[in-house]
């Protein structure tokens, strides 16, 4: 029966659909965006409604250095990807490692800030509404950075073992989509917490 049973091999390359892992990651990013949106809405809705101190204006310091670290890691992962596509193993590993370091620095910055808030200002998640919304929003983001760092490190270890070549570049690209998303979310969180929320 004519057209239906034609084997796929007769039209090679003519039928092209998006790479499924990219679609999958895009779906995850959409879902995660909705989660973050709800936390951001809660943060903005409760901004200035705490019944007791400390308030954001009193205790928050803008983490400019660590923000630069995280945002530039988007660039380094992009360079790493380009090296991988072209088969430059050393360049890929170097930039990939730099990405992990920058992400790690950012996480360290969040940790330092939390330490300062808890031990110097006595602000915990149960202190007031600001504490509740601040730690959950920033914590949710830090959790995503942590997950991202774990995945980046796994790829790095595979890379050191020589298992990541240009044939894996599409998969690495999927992971870097996630990392760009984590960075993008930080832009929103930064704006909400350190600019609008004060």
């Amino acid at each position: 029966m004519s057209a239906i049973a034609t084997p796929i091999a007769q039209t090679p390359g003519a039928w092209k659909l998006p790479y499924r892992s990219k679609v999958g990651m895009a779906c995850l990013i959409i879902a995660e965006s909705a989660i973050f949106t709800i936390f951001v809405v809660a943060y903005l809705y409760y901004a200035g409604k705490s019944l007791s101190g400390p308030t954001p204006r009193e205790v928050l310091e803008t983490p400019i250095f660590y923000t630069i670290c995280l945002l530039s890691s988007s660039l380094t992962i992009h360079f790493a990807e380009r090296f991988l596509v072209r088969g430059g193993r050393a360049g890929f590993l170097g930039f990939w490692f730099l990405t992990i370091v920058l992400g790690g620095l950012f996480l360290f910055g969040t940790g330092r800030e939390w330490h300062r808030l808890i031990y110097e200002h006595g602000l915990t998640i149960s202190t007031n509404l600001f504490g509740t919304t601040y730690y959950s929003l920033v914590g949710l983001h830090a959790f995503h950075v942590t997950v991202g760092l774990i995945m980046l490190s796994i790829v790095f270890l595979f890379g050191l073992a020589g298992r990541v070549g240009s044939e894996q570049s599409a998969r690495v690209e999927v992971l870097s989509m996630y990392w760009h998303f984590v960075d993008g979310v930080w832009v929103v969180v930064f704006t909400v917490v350190y600019i609008l929320g004060r």
């Binding site: 029966m1 004519s2 057209a3 239906i4 049973a5 034609t6 084997p7 796929i8 039209t11 003519a14 039928w15 659909l17 998006p18 790479y19 499924r20 892992s21 679609v23 999958g24 779906c27 995850l28 959409i30 879902a31 995660e32 909705a34 989660i35 949106t37 709800i38 936390f39 809660a42 809705y45 409760y46 409604k49 705490s50 019944l51 998640i125 149960s126 007031n128 509404l129 509740t132 919304t133 959950s136 949710l140």
Partner: protein, 565 residues
């Protein structure tokens, strides 16, 4: 029909598999089912799992109806009644409706788009087992949960769990945590499956299957999955906040520390209203497959159907606060949500007209699947009309929280969604099992269910109009509610009997039903081109399609659809 190259090959392969399977110990079969990543088996698991919970949720409803049949009844104590309505709602939405919808999509979408499996088979299995685990976790609360009334407490905060009922002070112990964690975990399962459906539809279609040629089932599943991604996640976020409140001393919903109970309502209904569409869009999908086949006409207005569905998807995300007219929003907000609610009835109306347009002038065959779909059309229209009534804020102020609301949403969920799902069972059971469901039992099931449904839910509107509030465990005699409650309860039992007929039909037909063959309905979508049940790999040769009705083209090479599209 049925003897087309690849198809014959796959039937042979099936025969060999069946012969191999004959002498295997049951442990191995069980192991196969537990470790399976095959979309068809996972689809069946989803459906069987949700049927199990359908029976449990139905029993809970029956307990409530027995209690409410007469005034001053003491069939169950009030705290048990609270657990019953909480568990009934949670079970029916998260562990019956969602999994059954996912089951249908899982089984059918890859077959319909000409793929050998879903895009991520292992994620698919993981999502199913997450859902399965969360259902068991919820029901473990009956044994292991401790709550307001001591040990062995199921959640009793209502399926929407309004703050501050869920705060530590009013929900001591762990019963509410079972609810929170179960719903959270099932949400993760839903996100996994939705991702899978989207990736399958976008990346796994066979050559020639452009977006404009996909069966409506695939299109509507795509929209449904998109809605799941955007609207289940707010609920997950709200559950995380609730856990922060309960375990870390947070104040999200703690009014004493400046938190807001209304915010929980917003977050819940941002999920809650689109959820209705997550469930009803797959029902639309089933109707859109069945009605053309049994009217012997292609679907009327295919592009409009797709556009209307996408439209519904978008508008459904802007109507949530029509559940909250009585909490005292500003008049601007009220007006906005009234208008969006009215707006969503436009694309829905378009769909109804298109289904009627499909039937118009067709050679309608009144087989059981078609009967369920025709009843769906009528009932969904009525549900839409009461929906418009409730969507008008002043009317809503009178009737919110009454049995009128309960009647309205059961009209949607039972009268539209469940009817379509029953229709889907009669339509695809032959494909899944290789045997036809019995027509006589099917018609008996249909008529009993129609009668039971209308007795219950038509009658339920009236005590609502007369002021009977929902969630009361008993009431005073002589308010004009008595007779209606008796009728509602009688209807419930008739629906129960109809469901028993259905289950009997499933079991009897599975063993004794006549052989179905590949294509018992003379249908047009790709799933009917393979053997029944389909082989594990679906298609021995990946098909190529040239129109929206590939099997029509194949059966009528002298007059293919591709000539007109």
């Amino acid at each position: 029909m049925g003897d087309f190259g690849g198809t014959a090959m796959s039937s042979d392969a099936m025969a060999i598999r069946a012969a191999q399977a004959a002498g295997r110990p049951w442990v191995e079969t069980l192991h196969d089912w537990v470790t399976t990543v095959d979309h068809k088996r996972l689809g069946i698991l989803y459906i069987v799992y949700s049927l199990l919970f359908l029976v449990i949720g139905g029993l809970e409803a029956t307990i409530m109806r027995i209690q409410l049949m007469r005034p001053h009844s003491d069939f169950v104590p009030p705290q048990v009644f609270n657990r019953m309505f909480t568990m009934h709602g949670t079970t029916m939405i998260f562990f019956v409706a969602m999994p059954i919808v996912f089951g249908f999509a899982n089984y059918l979408v890859p077959l319909m788009v000409g793929a050998r499996d879903m895009a991520f088979p292992r994620l698919n299995a993981f999502s199913f087992w997450l859902t399965a685990f969360s259902g068991i976790l919820l029901y473990f609360s009956f044994v292991g949960g401790s709550g307001l009334y001591g040990a062995g407490n199921a959640p009793d905060v209502g399926w929407w769990a309004y703050a501050p009922l869920t705060s530590r002070a009013f929900s001591p112990g762990h019963s509410s945590d079972y609810w929170t964690v179960a719903v959270l975990v099932s949400g993760f399962g839903s996100i996994g499956t939705a991702t899978n459906i989207i990736a399958t539809v976008l990346s796994m279609r066979c050559p020639g299957m452009t977006l404009g040629r996909m069966p409506l089932m695939a299109w509507l599943s795509l929209v449904m999955a998109g809605l799941v991604l955007i609207t289940i996640t707010p609920l997950s976020a709200a559950q995380i906040m609730l856990l922060v409140d309960r375990y870390l001393g947070g104040h999200f919903f703690d009014t004493q520390a400046g938190g807001s109970a209304a915010l929980w309502m917003h977050f819940f209904w941002i999920f809650g209203h689109p959820e209705v569409y997550i469930l009803v869009i797959p029902a639309f999908a089933i109707a859109s497959e069945i009605i053309p086949v049994f009217s012997r006409k292609p679907i009327f207005g295919y592009p409009i159907m797709v556009a209307a569905t996408v439209c519904i998807g978008f508008i459904s995300m802007s109507v949530w606060a029509h559940h909250m007219f009585t909490i005292g929003m500003t008049s601007t907000a009220n007006t906005f949500f009234v208008l969006t609610t009215m707006a969503i009835s436009v694309p829905t109306g378009i769909k109804i007209f298109n289904w009627l347009g499909t039937m118009w002038g067709g050679k309608i065959q009144f087989k059981t699947p078609m009967l369920f779909c025709i009843a769906f059309l009528f009932q969904f229209l009525v549900a839409g009309l009461t929906g418009i009534m409730l969507g008008a804020a002043p009317f809503n102020w009178q009737l919110n929280g009454s049995y009128f609301v309960v009647a309205h949403f059961h009209y949607v969920i039972v009268g539209a969604i469940l009817f379509c799902i029953f229709g889907g069972f009669y339509y695809w059971f032959p494909k899944v099992t290789g045997r036809m469901l019995d027509e006589k039992l099917g018609k008996l099931h249909f008529w009993l269910f129609v009668i039971g449904f209308h007795l219950t839910f038509d009658a339920m509107h009236i005590p609502g109009l007369l002021g009977m509030p929902r969630r009361i465990y008993t009431y005073e005699p002589g308010r004009g509610w008595d007779i209606w409650n008796v009728i509602v309860t009688i209807g419930t039992f008739i629906q129960g009997i109809a469901t028993l007929v259905f289950v009997a039909n499933l079991i009897l037909s599975y063993f004794r039903g006549p052989r179905a063959g590949n294509d018992p309905w003379d249908a047009w979508t790709l799933e009917w081109s393979v053997s029944s049940p389909p082989p594990a790999y679906n298609f021995a040769v990946i098909p190529t399609v040239e129109s929206r009705r590939p099997l029509w083209d194949r059966k009528h090479p002298e007059d293919p659809d591709s000539r007109y599209e």
